[in-house]
Amino acid sequence: MTEKDTELRVSKIRDGTVIDHVSAGEALHVLAILGIDGSGGESVSVGMNVPSETMGHKDIVKVEGREMSEAELDVLSLIAPDATVNIVRDYEVAEKTQIEPPEQVTGLLTCPNRHCITNAGEPVATRFDVIDDGVRCAYCETIVREDITDHLAV
């Protein structure tokens, strides 16, 4: 199967975002980051475990009528470091972005350490420093390497 076949399976969108080269199996997490659960009425196409020449298998997410914010891209970069984000306007790719991990992500993850001050009902947003192979709470310094999406605050 070729990438061309994939295109046939997932229809083109007119205006919105195509997130390609998502690690296989992470598409639903991408939707979670975007806060998309179907209730908002957006037209969403998801391809999971589709063959990819460069990645073996990959996921693709296409969302009609929705562009991603900077903060959403930041978290996306943590779970799908190889993803490309295409902003589509009038069926054409208007912007193509290879995402890069930020230095910090704010307010998007919860700290898994139940003794962390960010879990104590204080008026403070969580803040994580991005380190080589994970993220680190800027308050209690807990390092999260595995299953980062389990800690999404969205």
Partner: protein, 307 residues
């Protein structure tokens, strides 16, 4: 020292540490002779957890510098009991005092609190996180007994939850020190501390038994293994028993090994060691006053510097 706050030992450079210790040595010679340093300065004591040594030595230090303290008192008697957030508490207290010493059960509490205040804030213990002012007095004690370079130290006990251990380990990376960590597997250093030590290029080894490294040590820093870390009494007794020391234990150590402990001690150091010249833990506790005098002096003197 150019800091607004003292939150973790990680922020301390070698120069910072040496500046505090040099000032502490001046104060230690005659602690009562420095009441002209900060007359009228007020230190707020916000202790959300019990404390004897840290709180009393901060209070003594403030008074020895000519200042005074205001004490939030026990949590049960304060607005915290009514559900006030820490952020609100410190914002209010900031208006009353020139500096704040904060102890809190949540990790990261001091860092968060520091984001809400402009007066210098000292982390006096944040759960299982850090306790940097204890570290400064530990370093002062080590400097007085063994010197801070070409040093071999063994840190034994509860390394996972021991905040004094975490701060000391970070601070020692500024010096030429071989650090040995001795604990049961379940209480070894947390991943975050091991990560930092690795990043700092520290000379670190971990062990489950003291015997293997005891003869090399210049300093043996013992900490308490707490009952509540274990599922049952039997397991606790079994593990804790392996990390107690007696005068006989020290037979295998260097004659002048300095035995330290942040206190309180329960039974991990046999009282028979108290009378040996190796016992430094009471001097260590006494060092809390000149060292916290030096710390407050530098923070109040610098107030407004960059963290």
């Amino acid at each position: 020292m150019r800091h607004d706050h003292l939150l973790t030992a990680k922020q301390l450079s070698r120069a910072d540490i040496e500046a505090v210790l040099a000032r502490a040595r001046e104060f230690a010679d005659d602690p009562a002779a420095h009441a002209d340093r900060h007359p009228g300065a007020l230190l707020a004591l916000c202790f959300f957890e019990p404390s004897t040594r840290t709180k009393m030595s901060f209070e003594t230090a403030a008074k020895r510098l000519g200042g005074d303290v205001i004490d939030m008192g026990a949590v049960e008697d304060s607005s915290v009991k009514k559900g006030e957030s820490l952020a609100d508490t410190v914002r209010v207290v900031e208006g009353y005092a020139d500096a704040i010493a904060l102890r809190h059960p949540s990790q990261g509490a001091a860092r968060m609190a520091s984001e809400f205040v402009d007066v210098p804030l000292v982390n006096a213990g944040d759960g299982a996180g850090h306790h940097p002012s204890q570290t400064l007095l530990d370093l002062h004690t080590i400097a007085e007994n063994a010197g801070l370079d070409d040093l071999t130290i063994g840190v034994m006990g509860d390394l996972k939850y021991g905040r004094t251990v975490h701060s000391l380990a970070h601070a020692l990376t500024n010096f030429d020190v071989r650090q040995h960590f001795i604990s049961p597997e379940s209480l070894r250093l947390p991943r975050s501390v091991r990560y930092d030590l690795h990043e700092a290029g520290a000379n670190v080894r971990e062990h489950e038994e003291l015997e293997a490294v005891l003869p090399e040590l210049d300093v043996l820093y013992v900490t308490r293994i707490q009952r509540e870390r274990f599922p049952d009494e039997e397991e606790y007794e079994k593990v804790a028993g392996q990390y107690r020391i007696s005068a006989e234990t020290l037979d295998a150590a260097k004659d002048d090994v300095a035995v330290m402990h942040p206190l309180p001690r329960i039974d991990e150091i046999d009282p028979e060691i108290d009378d040996l010249p190796n016992a430094t833990y009471f001097d260590q506790a006494h060092n809390g006053v000149p060292v916290r005098m030096a710390l407050l002096d530098l923070l109040l003197e610098d107030g407004g510097g960059d963290e």
